[in-house]
């Protein structure tokens, strides 16, 4: 980390924006969660109480604090409370396998783990970990006096998220306050968006997923209200219900949601929607064109950005009635870099002009958490001394200067917006199967729904025990929908396993659509 970043003060912090809203209009609704509405004043009092609790447990600037993503008022108050005492928040999905969460707690060096109702799950983790990580109940009593947050410097850690890693272990992406501040400045000060306190934001994301930061911190920065969907139930149906009954005006969604809702487009009419935004995976032109009729007055945008570059940093404003991009293969372009970000491509193949998309700017983090080798692999420096991140996304630039997403240079895929390294699934499969050849692949159905298929070269069926094994090591979204044993893998002319042939052969024998 360079000294300049560590000492630079911040122009605007998320907390100062939130506290200003709480002071200006304490009685305005901030969040509706668990069927109960909380005002800015109430949320601020809970934030303050959370901060007091953490300080009483000696939590200081730079400490990493974990919390279970339970999706209640205390979960959101915890995030604000953690940031208020200058600490860094690390979300943990309590549904993840114990081993995975233990790995994250150890790697992040989490001092305190906060929970509301999932005490048993928290105990399970703390017993396995010994006494280093303390458990704290986050059901605090609102604090009447407001406690001012600790001053934050640009180089202070803000949050630490873990994404799928190729070596079988999730990798940590630390985001610093200067990164988040740059994101908020771009969203709120650039004049592109006119979010205001009458807006109602959808919050459909699990808090381990970085786009959630947009869906809860942007509304809380402008005095708007947010509507997290319940974690129980079928996600896309909860979204459809919330959009309509809460008259949502700003909705950031993963494209999978509209793929799932497609059969019902004729019944969906959302005249209140002002911004219908998409991020997290490839957005298909055809589905979007049909969706546009459900949101007749909304601006529609495709947003792009990896966790390493803080939420999103490129945008494409989609126009009603526009034709599919001639070079886009049916996918909506990812557009151009937003203010403060520079995008370019490297390792270009001069024939087809495809190259790897790289990002530079204030939103880009400095490198992975405790992982110098991975950092050296994907973070580089330009001739002018600018640091940049190699996204692993293959792109092309059209004549108008818009970037087109063409796929991956590696085996990373997106499942409902979650990053999945297929090697991570293969790694855990190999641990179970020994020296067998294994291939994890993704199949996209005609309806645009993705699923993971796992192939094992074996004469004998291994499904049952393997399913159990994978469940112990991988989060739900990474579990294969089907495990297929094949006696002999097809090879391509280079003698490598022919993934395409493998999938095609399987699809011929079974109807998966």
């Amino acid at each position: 980390m360079d000294d300049q970043n560590r000492t630079s003060t911040m122009r605007t912090s998320i907390l100062s924006r939130f506290i200003e809203c709480s002071t200006q209009f304490p009685d305005n609704p901030a969040i509706l969660v668990d069927d109960k509405s909380y005002t800015y004043g109430e949320l601020n009092a809970l934030r303050s109480a959370m901060c007091t609790l953490l300080k009483a447990h000696d939590i200081k600037k730079g400490d990493r604090i974990g919390f279970f993503t339970e999706n209640n008022i205390y979960t959101y108050a915890s995030i604000l409370g953690i940031l208020s005492c200058g600490a860094c928040y690390v979300p943990l999905n309590y549904d993840n396998p114990v081993e995975r969460n233990m790995g994250i707690i150890a790697d992040a060096g989490i001092k305190v783990l906060l929970y509301t109702e999932k005490e048993e799950k928290a105990r399970e983790l703390s017993v396995s970990l010994g006494t280093e990580c303390r458990l704290l109940h986050n059901r605090v009593t609102p604090n009447t006096g407001t406690l001012d947050p600790v001053d934050q410097m640009g180089g202070d850690l803000c949050y630490l998220l873990f994404t799928s890693g190729t070596t079988g272990k999730p990798k940590g992406v630390p985001i610093y306050h200067r990164n988040l501040s740059a994101f908020l400045d771009m969203m709120l000060e650039s004049g592109r968006y006119d979010f205001n306190r009458n807006d109602r934001f959808l919050q459909m994301f699990e808090l381990t997923f970085d786009v959630s930061v947009f869906s809860f911190l942007v509304p809380l920065s402008v005095g708007a209200s947010l509507y997290p969907i319940p974690r129980k139930g079928i996600a896309h149906l909860e979204v459809a219900d919330t959009l309509e009954t809460r008259e949502i005006t700003v909705a950031l969604m993963v494209p999978s949601v509209i793929n799932y809702l497609k059969p019902y487009f004729g019944e969906i009419n959302l005249p209140n929607m002002r911004y219908s935004l998409f991020a997290g995976e490839a957005l298909y032109h055809e589905t979007l064109s049909s969706w546009a009729k459900c949101v007749p007055y909304a601006k529609i945008e495709n947003l792009y950005g990896p966790t390493e570059a803080t939420i999103f940093c490129m945008r494409y404003e989609w126009q009603r009635g526009e034709s599919p991009h001639p070079q886009g293969k049916g996918i909506v372009p990812i557009g151009r870099p937003m203010e403060g970000t520079d995008a370019f491509k490297i390792n270009e193949n001069s024939l087809d002009e495809e190259g790897e998309l790289c990002l530079n700017g204030e939103q880009v983090t400095l490198g992975y958490w405790n992982n110098p080798s991975k950092t050296a692999e994907v973070f580089g420096t330009t001739k002018n001394g600018k640091k940049f991140y190699r996204t692993g996304d293959l792109c092309k630039i059209d004549q108008a200067g818009n970037f087109l997403y063409l796929g991956r240079i590696d085996n990373q895929v997106k499942i409902d917006g979650h990053r999945v390294e297929l090697e991570e699934i293969e790694f855990h499969t190999r641990v179970f199967c020994g020296d067998k050849q294994v291939v994890a692949a993704v199949h996209t159905s005609e309806a645009g729904l993705h699923f993971i298929l796992l192939f094992i070269e074996s004469e004998r069926e291994l499904q049952k025990g393997l399913e159990e094994h994978l469940k112990k090591h991988l989060p739900d979204y990474m579990l294969p929908k089907e495990i297929i044993t094949v006696s002999l893998f097809p090879l391509n002319s280079n003698g490598k396993v022919d993934r395409k042939a493998l999938i095609n052969k399987y699809l011929q024998t079974r109807k998966l659509n």
Binding site: L237, D241, D416
Partner: protein, 83 residues
């Protein structure tokens, strides 16, 4: 079709889509009770049910279903057979 018959037919649909042979259908059952029952399987379940019973659900109807019992009642009502 009587509700018992609907339940029987529903069991076959659930077995097929969720790839579980030993499923017992109860009225109280929800997606929370079956691990494999996620967004993707839900879409498949609904379209299989529509095909099997020759009916079409509205979004509102899908949203209002709280458990399998509601699904059975809805199929029953959609078939226009008096209870």
């Amino acid at each position: 079709m009587k509700k018992e018959e609907i339940t029987g037919e529903l069991k076959a649909v659930f077995q097929k889509v969720l790839e579980e042979n030993d499923i017992t259908i109860t009225r109280e059952m929800t997606a929370q009770d079956i691990e494999k029952w996620d967004s993707l399987r839900h879409i498949q379940l609904i379209s299989e049910v529509e095909r099997a019973f020759g009916i079409k659900f509205k979004l509102r109807e899908v949203l209002s279903m709280k458990n399998v019992g509601d699904l059975i009642d809805l199929i029953h009502a959609k078939q226009g057979v008096p209870a």
